[in-house]
Amino acid sequence: MTAPVTDESARVTSPLTIAVTATADTAGDALQRRGIFTAATLDRCISCGFCLSTCPTYALTKDEKSSPRGRITLMRALETGQLADDDPTLIEEASFCLGCRACEPVCPAGVHYGELIEEWRDHQWRGDQRPLLVRPLMWMVDRTWRYGLAATIRRHALTRRHTDGPHLMLGCFERMLFPRVSRVTRRLRPELDATPIQGCCGALHAHNGELERGRQLARELGERLPGTIVTTAGGCAAHLSDVLGRPRVMELSEYLLRQGTPPLTPLLVDGRRARVAIQDSCHLRNGMGVYRESRELIRRVADLVELPHAGTCCGAAGSYSIVRPKDSRRVLAPKLDEIQNAGIDYVVVVNPGCQRQLITGLRRRHSAIRVLHLAELLGMAAE
């Protein structure tokens, strides 16, 4: 069984010679780049692996390919043609990723993973490769009149006058699913202008492989709502600020902290202060760094209970819960356990996708814990 011993170090002259001969991705110039990804963003990853600890899909599989670092390695292979467009792992992992961007705050190299996943899907999901279930959603919000029509049956906040803002963005899904949120928001801050014809911010498009259309929709919305745009949806806020610039966009909690709230009375349950937890919006927290503000506001009206993984994705992830319901529920399950074990009365959300996800999940478990948008919680305290 004994292998002949050879003097390896005599032949191997330099580590980088090995590296460059053995490497076939971004280090060498042997392979052409295809231009699918922004080179500076893709090259930034130093493969340290810190992101593994925060990735919800890696937590499910413990397999490198389902981690941000592994996906970036896959993107590099796609970029250099080492893996073909129709490689099954590429197709699966582009879709399995929640796009929650939990990897970004822990990244020592500052990789903008959110941009990379959008570029990946933009390439990977051309034409009939896009998940079937997303297509009608995107069609729906692509023209303002379509969801405008749908929303006429629900009474959300509206103003007929037209001003220079600040404007309250109504959100395509929120105005259909949770119209109360914008109504309460306008009661909290009546100066907010809620013009009915707004358009979609384009986040859904950007996250589902139509990057340019997603940006165009954001720019159009920015033209219809000049000045500051206030939004009650964390996902929309992050996309809008990416396209229109951070100064134009304020998420509700930021806006309320700056502008103030009407007088608030602490909320009581059974004669004691209500116990309230928050589930962060991934893009709001990881993309915009906004998460302290909502907690500050909750503390004004209730006892804040911090969930151990409040900053981890609930599995709603935009259209993910519709496209991959089974994986979405696997991501949600430990979150629901935490919520049910926290001894709380309410769980607060700052994004309609999370709101729908938690309501559905808790209802399935027959839980008495109520899910409220931050605006709704503050609205109760302002009454």
Binding site: S9, A22, R44, I46, S47, L74, A77
Partner: protein
């Protein structure tokens, strides 16, 4: 330079009998051992395992297996030895010396499914864990029982304990607390030929036989696969405080470090940043650092509150005596945490300067740190490179960090040559080529300069005794 678009590394090493011969029969056999769903072999499945945290190194394996037990590990290794197929054990793949890059293809054996904390004993001050438990998981579980798992490598949130032991990971507390090897009491290890051994055990005192536990610690996956670790714990220190001092030059800071230790203090924290690091950190994090200072020294200690307070005062006094420009001592744990931020964000700050950051870890005897950093600066200047240095002043472990743009002509070649000189400079000062990152594929070419031909030959004989077919992590230590 020759290129190999196929991505395999077989071109560089041809005479070794161990090659990746993964065929359908082997795949079927592996599947029968660990289950079909725990064997991956499509190009997309194996590609993510072509890298670890080492820049510029990548080479894809042929197959990835995820065993769940010692028995499965043993069965896989027996198959690999029988078929002469390389096996590279892997935890989180966060090492910095290409130790887990499968340079000859073959099988990557991922141990993250073995992630049970078997036992934490407050009475015996030890923990028994499976290799896939992360360092942070173990540290948190120990902390919940009022105990300290002392080794704290920078990658602790992701690195596995098995990986820490295989690489003998270091960290920020080396001077006072030592490194991983100082805590490993016993190991369960599977040899390449499938025998399961238990070395050491639960005892601090045990001299029965060669110290195989220490030999395996830092063996980088070349002698066996670690399947269980018994590690010592300590009582959790009551408190920790940190201070920061600025000096006109690193030479001043170096004298302060020597003075602190001759004063009889063995601090838990003694970290430095050179001027280039201070500038990069300040540009990045805006902490209000003095960017005109020649060096920044973080000093700190942990333990009983009155002792910690006294030690901090003594260290601050010594810094003042050695010409510190400015000294701040954190009055509370939170303040101390804020001071440590400058050290923590050194790498992020530097990695934003250029697309590629090459982090090295040449190490010299503690009194020669300033001299070494001078040498590094001279070398960097000669090769027209930006190399900033930070590191562990307490144990002489330097992290010269080159920030380059690989697209910039021959930058990668210049870095390679410059670090070749840095390693030689460290050796000239009785130092070493790597203090805590390991040898792997990255440092192997420099190993003979450190060890000499006789020791290299002995390493190969040791390797052959453990792994006669040479299947375990070939192309690394002992090859």
């Amino acid at each position: 330079m020759p290129s190999n678009p196929a991505g395999g590394a077989s071109v560089t090493m041809t005479s070794d009998p161990v090659t990746s011969r993964v065929d359908d029969r082997l795949l079927a056999d592996l599947e029968s051992v660990v289950g079909e769903q725990h064997v991956r072999h499509t190009p997309g499945d194996v590609h993510p395992y072509s890298r670890d945290a080492t820049p510029l190194f990548s080479s894809a394996p042929d197959v990835v297996v995820f065993p769940a037990s010692t028995q499965e590990v043993a069965a896989v290794l027996r198959l690999a030895t029988e078929r002469r197929v390389p096996v590279v054990p892997r935890g989180a793949g966060s090492n910095l010396c290409a130790a887990t890059v499968p340079v000859r293809g073959g099988i990557i054996m991922v141990l993250t499914r073995m992630e049970q904390i078997v036992e934490i004993s407050a009475v015996e001050l030890l923990a028994v864990v499976q290799p896939g438990v992360t360092t942070a998981m173990l540290a948190d579980a120990a902390a919940a029982r009022g105990l300290l798992f002392a080794p704290d490598p920078g990658s602790r949130i992701v690195s596995t304990v098995g990986g820490n032991v295989a690489m003998c990971a270091g960290g920020l507390r080396g001077l006072k607390y030592g490194v991983t090897r100082n805590y490993v009491l016993g190991l369960e290890v599977v040899l390449a030929t499938g025998e399961v051994l238990r070395t050491g055990g639960r005892l601090w005192k045990d001299v029965a036989g060669y110290d195989l536990t220490r030999l395996l610690t830092g063996s980088e996956g070349t002698l066996g696969v670690i399947t269980e670790i018994t590690t010592a714990l300590l009582p959790m220190p009551q408190t920790a405080l940190t201070g920061v001092a600025y000096f006109p030059s690193l030479a001043h800071a170096g004298r302060a470090v020597s003075g602190i230790i001759t004063d009889g203090v063995v601090p838990a924290t003694l970290e430095f940043l050179d001027q280039k690091c201070i500038g990069a950190v300040e540009d990045y994090a805006h902490l209000g650092l003095h960017r005109d200072a020649g060096a920044l020294l973080l000093f700190g200690d942990d333990g009983a509150p009155d002792v910690v307070k006294r030690n901090l005062q003594r260290m601050a006094d010594r810094c003042a005596a050695e010409g510190a420009i400015d000294i701040t001592v954190g009055g509370a744990v939170a303040e101390s945490e804020a001071l440590l931020e400058a050290r923590r964000c050194s790498l992020p700050a530097l990695s934003r300067l250029q697309p590629l950051t090459v982090l090295e870890d040449a190490t010299v005897p503690r009194p020669r740190i300033a001299e070494m950093v001078d040498r590094i600066d001279q070398i960097a200047e000669r090769y027209n490179l930006l190399i900033a240095t930070f590191g562990h002043a307490g144990d002489g472990n330097l992290h010269p960090t080159a920030c380059i743009n690989p697209a910039d002509g021959d930058a990668a070649v210049r870095v390679e040559r410059a670090f070749g000189e840095v390693f030689q400079a460290a050796l000239d000062m009785d130092g070493t080529i790597t203090g805590e990152h390991g040898v792997g594929a990255a440092k192997l070419p420099y190993l003979q300069a450190r060890l000499g031909a006789d020791q290299m030959a002995l390493l190969r004989r040791v390797k052959a005794a453990f792994d006669p077919a040479g299947i375990l992590n070939p192309g690394k230590l002992g090859s």
